[in-house]
Symmetry: C2
Subunit: 341 residues, 2 copies
């Protein structure tokens, strides 16, 4: 059976000029993928026409009209209440109605989370959904959640994040027993705040492959497969990383403009620097996943180009293929609901 | 009147081979500085002899013997209870006894904090001391506190950090009204956890030059003079930054080993990369300051070289010169104690 995915075609900084070519590229790479592009019908059609797709591919393309667009800086509450016919909302509705198995959007993160929660609801036993992204490491990548959907998460919520992250990595990446670490200020048992210590106790009582505490730098060392944290720390860790990468590039560029020899070096260095900076940007790789909803929603980076947005569609396809929502639901039932009975 | 500073000569990864030359270099740069080197007397004396100092400088050098050393990985509680004659403890005792106005150590941070708190006690109205460090930015540097001394800080404690950081920057760097930002996950008023929102309300009721919320990347953009956060987030932000800088260097080096042209580039790039990495390391510049104690304690980076350790001595001198402890005490009295009356 084919996997059908809805694409919020108008979302993101670039809208259809990125989402349509990305979708078409994904259709060419995945033979059992079907895409429903959601947005202004005429504009989507004319963008598709540009690509001169042959019927083999056109047969797997659908268009669903939506008259509104959620702005990148729009308040989530406003997008939720006032934009009932936005491309984002309609794309998510299609998941709810069972017409597609997943939705991909490069739109406003807060709005995407608010609308997804409202329309799809959370899996039974999951209090709040979390945002998980892949983060590059020395030898590959790791996964971090939550990245800002929730602040003031309780130990019970952090346990849910751990279960959801572990299940997602297990099934989409074929890691038998993903290692799970808790982000803390030290590796010793006595370190950390009360919330983290209580979370550790909860996790130890599950079948998760719990590694223990990890520190901020361990994220990039790839010490574990899944790093669990409250959205407050997750967001600060990632934003600080982004900030220091920008500063490091700035210092390097400045150093290279010093003299003729270094300018010669810059000629070789700058393209490499650009590539490395882009490789380091977590969201750019294949987007982030909203976990814990009754449906699959993948958030692409707002500024994503064709290739990155295509990767986000691949991610939605992979998650659909393994029925990740069901897997998470089963695990939450086993580890949380039955334990609490 | 001269400023006298005690130096934990045996502390840090390198001990007297770094601390003594650094101290001597500082004595040559600051004419009214006196140093008490604390540690094994014979070893210190022989290191000083190597430098062939003339009497003009030797007159400003003192040695205080201490028979023990706090190990870099020693438990703070052990160092506090069992190492009563450690170079660190004796150096701090000299502050307590009024024999010096400040202490500089490159030793174990946890032990330094524990011993300083025990020996010196906190300023009246300060619940817990905080660690503040300079962080590099595009156009200079900013200051962040707390960097890991405290987790689960209350809004009242965060307010104390804001007052202490602001006073320290005002007097040691001659910034008339330092801007103060609260580290959060967004800049809008509605963002963040309850603790941050409550802290913002408290700060708005003071005379601090409050900027508002700042995000992780704003640290490196230098948006404000002082960034205030709980030690949990401060530590995670800095460790994550450290991790990503390491990863970025790794990626760059790998890219440069690709072919002959890039290898030629590497020849020019690697020294620059090393310099930039070192510039980015916050602790390496001039150490971190323990604020809120009844006495000045400066923590140098454990792996500091002669120049960095010398900068930490300069920092201790600057803080002594402006009587930073008194200034913080006055401000805490004005903003906290009198407001609570």
């Amino acid at each position: 059976m084919s996997i059908r995915v809805s694409v919020d075609a108008s979302g993101g900084d670039h809208g259809i000029s990125v989402t349509i070519p990305a979708g078409i590229a994904a259709l060419k790479e995945i033979s059992d993928l079907e895409i429903v592009f959601v947005g202004n019908k005429a504009n989507i059609q004319s963008e598709i026409d540009k690509s001169s797709l042959n019927n083999k591919f056109l047969n797997r393309v659908y268009i669903q009209h939506a008259s509104e667009i959620v702005a990148m800086d729009e308040l989530p509450s406003h997008a939720l209440r006032r934009k009932k016919d936005s491309s984002m909302r309609v794309a998510i509705n299609l998941v709810k109605e069972g017409k597609v198995s997943a939705c991909v959007s490069a739109g406003n993160t807060g709005a995407l989370m608010a609308i997804s929660r409202f329309v799809l609801k959370t899996i039974q036993g999951v209090d709040r959904p979390a945002i998980m992204a892949r983060i590059p490491t020395y030898s590959g990548h790791t996964h971090v959640l939550d990245l800002g959907a929730n602040v003031d998460s309780s130990p019970a919520a952090l346990l849910e994040f751990a279960i959801m992250g572990s299940e997602a990595v297990k099934h989409t990446e074929n890691v038998k027993r993903p290692t799970v670490g808790l982000l803390n200020v030290g590796e010793e048992e006595i370190k950390g705040n009360e919330k983290i210590k209580n979370t550790a106790s909860l996790i130890k009582n599950t079948n998760l492959n719990y590694y223990g505490y990890v520190e901020g730098d361990d994220i990039y060392k790839g010490v574990v497969d899944v790093v669990v944290c409250d959205g407050f720390e997750g967001n600060i860790a990632l934003k600080a990383s982004e900030g220091v990468v920008g500063l490091m590039s700035f210092f390097l560029k400045k150093a290279f403009s010093k003299n003729l020899l270094t300018k010669l070096g810059a000629f070789i260095v700058l393209p490499i620097l650009r590539k490395v900076k882009s490789d380091l940007d977590p969201g750019k790789y294949n987007g982030a996943t909203l976990l814990g909803l009754k449906g699959i929603v993948v958030k692409s980076h707002g500024g994503a180009g064709v290739n990155s947005f295509k990767n986000a569609i691949h991610e939605a396809y992979r998650e659909s293929k393994v029925h990740i929502t069901d897997k998470i639901s089963e695990q939450i039932t086993k580890e949380v609901l039955q334990n609490n009975e």
